[in-house]
């Protein structure tokens, strides 16, 4: 009986604010509803057909994938390198570990506004800097040019989330025993060889878990993009999340937004499942052996 007393408040909150909205999203997705009156205009899977046929949505899925893959390709090597660096005994190590984590603590919106100022066309710091090293910034600014905008967004996201990767990798390195390093060094291995043959392979499980978290985050990516570009220019940085917010709040196409949410969930779920089966399973196997 007491079990119910303890668990009910949490479950009620989750039912009300997580489960009910998700069920509602699925319901919206089969109606052509603009926010007025009752849900009456049942259209079956038409919204799904429309969303999947929309070039903007399909490119948004592509942008999400660029962010998923790009985040891992940039943050994994950089994160490992910086974690290795910070794992060496050096002065100011604690301070460095704190500093590297600062961007992660800032709100995405706040970070985005600072970068917006840095990236201002012509008057911004970045344009002045690139001009200095002989790179002519584009006239519309880096974020205003469709060819560059997504890559700039990716770089800003890397700046924001690298600290988390470094922190988790450092935690993983704590688990690598000192004796292994010393034994390797006695055998005449250099620092590089020791890291490459021992530390990095032993970091495998941490890297795989981090990559999973990074993937899930990249699929939902919204705040940073909304402030930096609103998905523009010309939808060049639109993601699934900016697409569905745009449809839902600006155009009141709740059916389309619902269908886009369901597709977003299915993609996220399929990726999570595939990753679990193909990659993370190795870790659980290793543990039980």
């Amino acid at each position: 009986m007491e079990i119910l007393v303890f668990v009910t408040p949490a479950l009620a909150l989750i039912a009300l604010f997580v489960a009910w909205p998700i069920v509602t999203a699925v319901r919206f997705s089969v109606y052509d509803w603009k926010g007025f009156g009752d849900l009456t205009d049942f259209v079956g899977l038409e919204n799904y057909v429309e969303v999947l046929g929309d070039e903007v949505f399909r490119s948004a899925v592509g942008h999400n994938m660029v962010i998923v893959v790009g985040s891992i390709l940039l943050q994994l090597p950089l994160g490992v390198a910086i974690a290795l660096l910070l794992n060496r005994k050096m002065r100011g190590q604690g301070l460095l570990r704190t500093i590297i984590f600062v961007p992660y603590v800032l709100a995405e919106v706040i970070a985005a506004v600072v970068w917006l100022q840095l990236l201002q066309p012509q008057y911004g710091f970045i344009d002045a800097f690139t001009a200095q090293i002989g790179l002519t910034p584009p006239e519309q600014g880096w974020l205003g040019t469709p060819e560059y905008a997504l890559w700039i967004v990716l770089l800003v996201l890397t700046w924001k989330y690298l600290g988390l990767a470094v922190l988790l990798f450092l935690a993983g390195m704590q688990g690598v025993s000192e004796e292994l390093h010393e034994a390797a060094q006695l055998d005449g291995a250099s620092w590089w060889q020791t890291q490459w043959r021992i530390t990095i392979p032993l970091l495998g499980p941490t890297m795989r878990t981090w990559a999973f978290l990074s993937m899930i985050g990249s699929i939902q990516c919204f705040d940073m993009i909304w402030v930096l570009t609103q998905g523009g220019p010309a939808n060049a940085t639109a993601t699934m999340a900016t697409y569905l917010i745009d449809e839902g709040t600006k155009r009141h196409n709740y059916g389309i937004a619902g269908a886009a949410s369901v597709i977003l969930f299915v993609i996220a779920f399929a990726m999570a499942l595939a990753y679990q089966v193909l990659i993370l399973r190795r870790d659980t196997k290793e543990d039980t052996v």
Partner: protein
């Protein structure tokens, strides 16, 4: 590069020059934008346009003074604080209550119940956001209120909280609880008087996580809060679009809005970090 030098294990040598050089570059890239914002707030727009990379010369205080004397800034800060406090209290109390039987009781369906919370982790917030907005506005009539934002934020924070707290509670010694029960305390009495105090470190971890997440939230407040009810992140975004010509003013506003989260992070750094690491290790 000399290979022989690397053969000797580094003790307190402090590393090579290049290690420090790389560290310095990493630090510059990491905190550069934040420092640029803070220093930019001390410059005039003319200084910023003239020399985008310069230092304040002379230092001007008017941008910061302008923000601090702006009643909207304080209103936004109050809203952010209240919403984050409500979110944190609800998340920690409800989360601990739910984690307690899941960790300490033996009953049928315990693991199934725990799975409900684990499943909650899998749903991206973006999926639910439009219906959530409509439900809160139309069905619950809580749009533009602190509770209307805090309660759903707590709901989305609860699965992670329960997942972190359950193993923590499982690791606490059983003896104290049993002794209290022998002395005739009720289960609920044990929960309040024995378990809550023992769980303080775990509660701080999940509490700080919930607070920072709520403080930094953007999407839900963006949809639900208007005008005087807006929070600091929304205020920063609005200010930056409305005063796009006043770069120095925007930088001052943004810098001041960063301070609470940074201070909280520095104060609870160890807890926050171990909480995140624990969450990843499962």
């Amino acid at each position: 590069m000399s290979v022989t030098a690397d053969l000797t294990p580094r003790r307190r040598s402090g590393g090579n020059l290049w290690v420090y050089l790389i560290a310095l570059i990493v630090v510059a890239i990491t905190v550069g934008p934040v420092l640029y914002g803070a220093l930019g707030g001390f410059r005039t727009n003319a200084q910023l346009a003239d020399k985008p990379a310069g230092l304040p010369d002379p230092w001007v205080w008017s941008n910061y003074a302008g923000v601090l004397s702006n009643p909207s800034f304080w209103q936004y800060a109050l809203n952010s604080t209240m919403i984050a406090i409500i979110t944190t209290v609800v998340t920690v109390v409800f989360g601990l209550m739910a984690a307690y039987p899941l960790a300490r009781y033996q009953f049928r369906g315990r693991e199934a119940l725990f799975m409900v919370f684990v499943l909650g982790l899998l749903f991206p917030a973006a999926v639910a956001i439009i219906p959530l907005f409509i439900i809160i506005t139309r069905n619950l009539h809580m749009a533009n209120t602190w509770w209307g934002v805090a309660l759903p934020q707590a709901a989305f924070a609860l699965p992670m909280t329960v997942v972190i707290l359950r193993p923590f509670l499982m690791a606490l010694p059983k003896e104290l609880e049993e002794a209290a029960l022998m002395d005739g305390a009720s289960r609920i009495g044990v929960f309040w008087r024995v378990l809550m105090p023992l769980s303080a470190p775990g509660m701080i971890t999940v509490g700080v996580l919930a607070f920072v997440t709520s403080w930094n939230a953007y999407l839900l407040p963006l949809l639900l809060l208007q005008d005087k009810m807006r929070t600091l992140p929304l205020g920063v975004a609005d200010f930056s679009t409305e005063h796009s010509a006043d770069t120095a003013g925007v930088l001052a506003f943004t810098t001041l809005a960063m301070i609470p989260a940074l201070v909280l992070f520095l104060a609870f750094q160890r807890r926050l970090v171990s909480g995140l690491q624990g969450a990843v290790k499962g």
